[in-house]
């Protein structure tokens, strides 16, 4: 069985054959399978690590954008409420102005009207006084003609005037 292991009968040829076979096999495997597959494995691991990196990058970018958008939203919200409150205060001021103006106008008109009425009344009274005096004199002269003394005449006029003043 193991007779061929005895030195001298060892088949060196087989050894040589297997070594040559193995070398050719190694060369063929390297050419066909080893090189392209290890290259692909390397490429894949590179790609995966790249993908992980870029995913991380885009994640942080997205977070940054979201924060920025939130800040802008807050800012526009503030702006809007500012505008509204400003408009409200403007309107209030305008309203107050108009009301006070109107009040003033009304007061002035009222004062003018009262003054006019007073003047009118005074004028009318003065006119009436003159008219009464004239009328009295006329009446007096007519009565005098019916022998009326000067004292009676004066007393008569005064009593008339007193009656008018009341």
């Amino acid at each position: 069985m193991l007779s061929h292991l005895v030195i001298g009968q060892l088949y060196y040829g087989d050894s040589l054959f297997y070594i040559v076979c193995f070398l050719i096999l190694m060369w063929l495997v390297k050419l066909m399978a080893w090189k392209p597959i290890t290259k692909m494995m390397q490429d894949r691991s590179d790609k995966i690590s790249n993908d992980i990196d870029s995913a991380e990058q885009s994640r942080t970018e997205a977070a940054k954008l979201a924060k920025q958008r939130q800040a802008e939203l807050d800012k526009s919200h503030d702006d809007a409420s500012n505008i509204i409150s400003e408009a409200r205060s403007n309107g209030q001021k305008e309203h107050d102005n108009i009301v006070s103006q109107a009040q003033e106008d009304a007061n002035r008109v009222k004062v003018n009207a009262q003054k006019d009425i007073e003047q009118e009344r005074k004028d009318a009274l003065a006119n009436a006084k003159d008219d009464v005096a004239d009328l009295s004199i006329e009446i007096a002269s007519k009565i005098i003609q019916k022998e009326l003394s000067a004292n009676d005449q004066k007393a008569l006029i005064d009593s008339y005037i007193e009656g008018l003043g009341k």
Partner: protein, 236 residues
Amino acid sequence: MDGQVSTFQFLGMTFNTANIVSGLVVFVILVAIMFLCSRHISMKPGKGQNFLEWLIDFTNGILKGSLPNNEVNAFGLYAFVLFAFLFVSNTLGLFIQVSMHGVTLVRSPTSDPIVTLTFSLTTMMIAQFAGVRKLGYKRHFENYLHPFKIWIVMNVFEQFTDFLTLGLRIFGVVFSGEMLLKVIYTDLAAKGGAWLIAAVPLEVIWQGFSVFLGAIQAFVFVTLSTVYIAKGLGEE
């Protein structure tokens, strides 16, 4: 094995026909597998590519166990082809055994010690060359003088025993496996009748177990090769 082996002379060297034919069969099988599995290599691997990548990862994993990372690439191809070759060699004889006129033609190549010792010698040579390449002649051979000068006897002897055990371990397992298959087939089945029926499941069970053993032995061979190479590199 049991049958006669024919030999022929070529260029003044003696060749064993069974070894040559079996070796060629293994060679052709491996080339076919590698060729078929490495078509259409892409980023998303197909079945064949997945299989080869798994195998490459497996042998690279063996290497990473004992070699530093920067050396793994240098021996990756050797470990890969060695594992594939040994595994196919170990299992070939379990399924195909061809004899012609009583002369064995095809069987497991690794059931002949000359084949396993050839690979074992290759590994030892690679370990030596790797050591010289990395450390230079002087420092590499100085390692034989450690820890004492007299230790050179032990170290040289160790190289020799490493060479023998590495080759003969795989030979023993594969040879005995094939032997038992043949015994079951020739002695048990030849009795005929109930023996033949009993022989079939036995044969199947032993074949399955031998495939397992063949894989284990190929794995062990590659692992030990890596350890010896690491030792040659001065990586204890």
